[in-house]
């Protein structure tokens, strides 16, 4: 069975035509995962038994015509989504034995749609990182060059898509954690409008920034997945009661007459020349298709990283306060003499370096005397970033920028230099600050060492709740280019 570039649409057609059964498809994936995962470290858990039983159910549905487009489609989940009866660790030692007693809302929705969960993917601990090196299971290797990072924090999901170890995958994006690894690994990564997808049952990192989205091989597949997971959920009060449009309705409408904004701040200093060229070529492609290119300005861009690394650690430190290893979580080796000792030891042993750093930054910026100077200041800067986007979207329909300032770097290169790692998110963070949707679409390659191709994504940004427009614009590009079809030689 050829799993290379197998999309949802194609797999669905082949399942319907009985070219293979869901069970055969799932077994083919497990065989491939067994062969390749030791080199990539994309999966931290495979759930073979559960998947095969789900596949048998899917085959029954397919035979009785009671199926939908996702019936029998195998997928992967970042290990931050709670899965009933299946270990969920957030790639942290503090949760090494955690088996959730319930499913996240999106997991229930996908189960209801007949999908099959293949396993849980590697990530930076509690979704904090841009390289997937901060995982208690070790780093994910980039399928295009095994000596390089996959990007993070949803690195395992991105690598699993690029190496064809699943049909689609889910991740979370707080400051770029879907788009950056999607760019580094060469897949489609969607970050939705804040609140479009329920986060119930997904461990919180920074609650006023976190979003959930999909990794896919095509823009069209991304639309199909969002159709199933989007919508209001009473268990997540940040999901507005706003109808979910039919995301495939306008996907073929093209881009003629559309105004595409190019903000100059995203193409200046610090942006790799090769990356800039790839994205500019992508923009030219849109011009050829009849879009109008308009220069715009987002002057607050350079302040977003600083605002983010105040606000999100603050929220993280509050969210992770519940990790006391009482109701769930790792029991420390030294339990200590009393309850407070137990907390100190459980957290000291359980959290990795990056989480300790961020919890401490968070505790510091929220502590007496610093709240106004740091936390409140960051929230005010956030207001100004939002204004930037509002102004720009008065002039244009959509914006196109690079996803990351540079391609995937060497494993270990930035590990002891937090600031330089944080700057990798400089072009994705402002989008989370404004709560708007954005999508990374493969747009070409730059040459790495040894002549290896390194994927580069371009980032499409729309106003809040304009995911349908992102799909329309992204799909138009994929109809005239084939960057997304290129596969690494792992």
């Amino acid at each position: 069975m050829d799993l290379s570039f197998l999309t949802i649409k194609e797999a669905h057609e082949l399942l319907k035509a009985k070219k293979f059964s869901a069970k055969e498809l799932v077994n083919a994936y497990f065989e491939k995962i067994k062969k390749m995962n030791s080199a990539l470290n994309a999966y931290v858990l495979v759930c073979e038994k559960e998947a095969i039983s789900a596949a048998e159910n899917a085959d029954k549905k397919l035979a009785s015509d009671g199926d939908g487009i996702l019936t029998g489609i195998p997928y992967a989940l970042k290990d931050i989504f709670n899965t009933k009866g299946i270990r969920t660790t957030c790639c942290s030692k503090i949760l090494e034995n955690f088996v959730p007693p319930y499913d996240a809302t999106v997991v229930s929705k996908l189960k209801g749609a007949g999908t099959i969960l293949l396993g849980k993917t590697n990530m930076d601990e509690f979704a904090c990182g841009g390289s997937n090196e901060h995982s208690c299971f070790g780093p994910v290797k980039n399928p295009w060059d095994l000596s390089r990072v996959s990007g993070g924090s949803s690195g395992g999901s991105a690598a699993a898509i690029a190496a064809d170890l699943c049909v689609f995958a889910l991740g979370t994006d707080t400051g770029g954690s879907i788009r950056e690894p999607a760019s580094f690994c060469g897949c489609v990564g969607l970050k939705v409008t804040y609140g479009r997808v329920s986060r119930s049952g997904v461990t919180a990192f920074a609650s006023s920034w976190d979003t959930i989205g999909a990794f896919a091989k095509t823009v069209e597949d991304s639309a199909i997945v969002l159709q199933t997971i989007a919508g209001c959920d009473e268990k997540d009060s940040t999901t507005p009661d706003k109808p979910v449009p039919d995301y495939l309705n306008n996907i073929d409408a093209g881009v003629r007459g559309l105004k595409i904004g190019v903000p100059k701040e995203y193409f200046g200093e610090g942006i790799d020349a090769g990356v800039r060229e790839v994205v500019m070529n992508g923009i030219k492609e849109y011009e050829k298709m009849g879009a109008k290119i308009v220069e715009v300005s987002l002057p607050m861009t350079k302040y977003a990283v600083a605002a983010y690394y105040i606000a999100t650690p603050a929220e993280l430190s509050a969210n992770l306060a519940r990790f006391d290893s009482i109701r769930f979580g790792h029991k420390p080796e030294r339990e200590g003499k009393d309850l407070i000792d137990y907390y100190f030891n459980a957290r000291g042993e359980g959290f990795g370096d990056e989480i300790k750093r961020r919890i401490m930054i968070g505790a510091y910026v929220l502590s007496a005397g610093y709240y106004d100077a740091y936390y409140k200041k960051a929230q005010k800067v956030r207001t100004l970033i939002i204004k930037d986007f509002e102004e720009a979207f008065k002039k244009v329909d959509i914006m196109i920028v690079p996803v990351a300032p540079f391609p995937a770097w060497k494993i270990g290169e930035k590990l002891n230099d937090p600031i330089s790692m944080y700057l990798a998110d400089a072009l994705t963070i402002p989008i989370n600050a404004a709560g708007v949707p954005a999508m990374s679409v493969p747009a070409g390659f730059v040459e790495g060492d040894g002549g290896k191709d390194l994927p580069v994504g371009m980032q499409l940004i729309g106003p809040q709740f304009s995911e349908d427009l992102l799909f329309q614009v992204g799909h138009a590009y994929q109809k005239v280019t084939d960057w997304h079809r290129k596969r690494p030689n792992v």
């Binding site: 319930y102 600083a306 769930f328 957290r347 750093r357 005010k380 207001t383 937090p418 809040q464």
Partner: protein, 95 residues
Amino acid sequence: MLSEEQVRHIAKLARITLTDAEVKKFSGQLSGILDYMDILNEIDTKNVEPTLQVTGLKNVTRADEVKEFGDSDGLLGCSSLEIKNNQIKVKSVIK
């Protein structure tokens, strides 16, 4: 610059035990990160309102009703501590 003493104080607020080596490492790294934040002082935010929520939702409430989760054994089973009478046994708080 964050002194090692300040790092120990923050770690205490955050309920995290640090080794001496960690205190040393984090003191340098956290200072670097906080120095980087100074860039925000370039911006005048005197008359700017802080943003707490980006899509305009406000005071979302629900009926104050108890709903049974239905699987108390499953919930208690998540703990690595001893369970007694449907409760988790923890270390002493008051001597």
